[in-house]
């Protein structure tokens, strides 16, 4: 889509909420748009992002044309979301070429509350302590972050690989079950909820 719409004054900017450069590089193979690393999760603070993927449409003047939405780059979850990758792409094309935005574009994104903000700082401190070899300090702050924002994937799931866990394993499915039982809370437009 990036290549298709490049002539129309459009670009994708991908930001990895991640510190695993090589894993991100593997995912970003053959991409022609910028792929940025955000190991400290700055973007989740600035845009109140609580899960990935989250996409934000930003116009040429820096206004948010459609806020945080959980849109996937593949159809792996279409059965659950009732939403296809092409469905999103068609909407992006209509926006880029004709300035048309979908009805959900004026949806509100809930601000982060104090606990969600504090969780992000604990996560960041934990990631820092881990990088300098203080595993115990890191664990304490990863735990504090998870207590404050137990259903925030950028806090809890992002910590799994940093704590030697498996973000696609048992603990992820336990988190997912809790998340879904709580109504799939998401800062922005969530197809999972839309479909439900």
């Amino acid at each position: 889509m990036h290549e298709e719409l490049a002539e129309d004054g459009f670009t994708v900017i991908a930001v990895a909420i991640d510190e695993a450069v090589e894993s991100v590089r593997a995912l970003a193979e053959n991409t022609t748009y910028p792929v940025l690393m955000d190991p400290d999760h700055i973007l989740t603070e600035l845009y109140a992002i609580s899960n990935v993927p989250s996409v934000v449409w930003i116009d040429g003047q820096g206004r948010i044309a459609r806020p945080n939405a959980n849109e996937f780059g593949s159809d792996m979850f279409s059965e659950y979301t009732g939403r296809t990758r092409e469905g999103h792409f068609d909407q992006v094309r209509a926006w880029v070429r004709h300035g048309v935005v979908p009805d959900d574009a004026d949806s509100e994104v809930a601000d982060l509350d104090d606990d969600e903000l504090a969780a992000r700082l604990h996560f960041r401190l934990a990631a820092h302590l881990r990088r300098i070899g203080d595993e115990d300090g890191a664990a304490a702050h990863f735990d504090a972050a998870a207590r404050l924002a137990p259903l925030d994937f950028t806090v809890v799931r992002a910590a799994m690989p940093l704590r030697g866990g498996d973000p696609f394993g048992e603990e992820f499915f336990a988190l997912l079950a809790q998340y879904q039982a709580a109504g799939s809370p998401f800062h922005g437009i969530n197809p999972l909820r839309r479909a439900g």
């Binding site: 459009f10 994708v12 995912l27 690393m37 996409v55 116009d59 820096g62 700082l121």
Partner: protein, 135 residues
């Protein structure tokens, strides 16, 4: 004296001390620590100043309480005296601008080659900002 690490837009260190769990530094060290300077008119960075009254709420004797300074700049703060770290979050105003006024906050991050790129580098284009991950 102790070394205080600041996790802000960059990771910096400042020499200072911990007093009752509060991170204290010399006012002269503030610009190197967080990029802001305490002036008579307030906390300033470039041509931007934030009013802080007479600044007495930020001071402990002749030192500055770094966490109080971060709070005065309306950024979330987290202090861990054992680890010797102050975490300075992104400005609350930037996030509120995004969720309330729908203006996209600018940011600068390194790409996969380590080159700094900003959202504003692509001003004039319609941008699909995609937050993703390998986890």
């Amino acid at each position: 004296m102790a070394t205080i690490t600041v996790l802000g837009d960059e990771v910096t260190t400042a020499s200072g001390e911990w007093a009752g769990g509060r991170p204290l530094i010399e006012p002269d060290h503030l610009p190197a620590a967080i990029g802001w300077t305490l002036k008579p008119e307030g906390l300033c960075r470039g041509d931007q100043c934030v009013l802080v009254g007479d600044g007495s709420a930020l001071r402990v004797k002749d030192k500055l309480d770094l966490a109080a300074v971060v709070g005065a700049l309306d950024c979330p703060a987290l202090v861990d005296a054992d680890a010797g770290v102050v975490v300075m979050g992104q400005p609350n105003a930037a996030r509120r601008t995004a969720v309330r006024e729908r203006l996209a906050p600018d940011f600068t991050l390194a790409d996969l080659d380590g080159v700094s790129r900003s959202l504003s580098d692509f001003a004039g284009k319609k941008r699909l900002l995609v937050a993703f991950s390998s986890w």
